[in-house]
Subunit: 289 residues, 2 copies
Amino acid sequence: MSDPVKPEQEPTWFDERHDYTGSSIGFRVRQRLHAEQTAFQSIEIYDSTDWGKLMVIDGCMMVTTRDNFFYHEMMSHPALYTHPRAKRVVIIGGGDCGTLREVLRHDEVESAIQVEIDERVTRLAERYFPELCESNGDPRAQLLFVDGIRWMAECEPESLDIVIVDSTDPIGPAEGLFNAAFYGSCLKALRHGGILVQQSESPLGHLPLLKSIRDAMKIAGFAALRTLTFPQPCYPTGWWSATLARKGADLSTFRERGAATKPFATQYYNAEIHKAALAEPEFLLRALA
Amino acid sequence: MSDPVKPEQEPTWFDERHDYTGSSIGFRVRQRLHAEQTAFQSIEIYDSTDWGKLMVIDGCMMVTTRDNFFYHEMMSHPALYTHPRAKRVVIIGGGDCGTLREVLRHDEVESAIQVEIDERVTRLAERYFPELCESNGDPRAQLLFVDGIRWMAECEPESLDIVIVDSTDPIGPAEGLFNAAFYGSCLKALRHGGILVQQSESPLGHLPLLKSIRDAMKIAGFAALRTLTFPQPCYPTGWWSATLARKGADLSTFRERGAATKPFATQYYNAEIHKAALAEPEFLLRALA
């Protein structure tokens, strides 16, 4: 990680050097706007020359203004256009509120609960990424700041249609979100046909981790899995994935007509992109066989 | 760009800071294995901890051992599975020989000519990326080390089926490969139904450049264009594109059955990935409308 940036100096670079992949991603920044140590993690906000604001948690890039749409759209719309009618959606993590905003674009959603452990992430998102928080006042939205693992363990059985695990990497506070015990809680809380969505890291850079996520979902008892891939410039390797797991039903189709006539604007997602995200590269087909 | 790496020191990082996009990509490296100034450009070779060898030209990452398969497969197989029977293929640039190798996997190809201006690129690829050069001895292959712009201008009309422009960015020696005059030479050299493939930069990071490439192809007189997208971790933003332009025919279909039963192994490309690469994200649909 680069040295902290002093205000009012010439543009410099924030480079995130990712040990696991041996690769780095960086952005040219003007200044660091904010830095704090919360009860859970360190959070920094930078102003960049070309990517808007950056949010960095424990040294890892979480969101940029310019490119977060890939991730937020692909964490939400594929699941929502696969489920026939998702009324009750829970987001575990997702404190920047970008996934919540996308979920609430769907009229069929009657309730969307965001369960973020660190309230400071949301407070800083409200300040530096107000566009991601524009649906926080929606009467269907509920923002909780509690431990998602415990919340899910205590959730009423068969009460949810979609659970989206929009977490940091499986180190630090998010570690307990990547195992069969947690996925078991999700399975129990989902109704029949319900869908779990887990951000599942880089298909190329984190393949062993992606496989372990899928294995844990299978052990937990999910009936079908699909891993979707999409670009995400601010994450290691610039290529990312979301894995969908379904309770008691398969994942072979989605509501293609619904997606093709979606009544809201997106920047990345559409019906063709949904199909494209389901295409499995040769190396991934072999690795997941 | 980082300081040159001295032999035998602890791993450090090579970061390519890309002014145009305001973003950087880097890899952890053990040492710099080679550096030279050729008649055309500077070439460096690094040994990385996780990505094999890196080739860097004028400070820009060209190829890593581990991830070049995305680019080389997507620069070749989509065009070859779109053309009904490409007998004569020319690669402009492509000195690392990885595109040549992929082209020669197709039995229908009777002749593949690589026209690289800088012989040193190929000589260093033979030494540090021998797997990319494994088809250089194929009797159908011809390696020329001359100026591709002039070669194409003097090429016999209606003599080629596919021209693949596998070049560096449009600064330095490759600048003349990104304009209507050069594309006009390609059009003239292609037979009816022939296809031009141009690496067309990052769909997100270089959108104005992508549009100018497409405009130049239209001005040159190509009948149909399609821009394909694919991951490429070692290039700026980690997401890249190739634009196909066709002479006197459309690009609405490809030989899907042929691609689905391809008689050779790939790491990324297959028929589903071909379709996926053709899907246009919402922002790109709007920008290219």
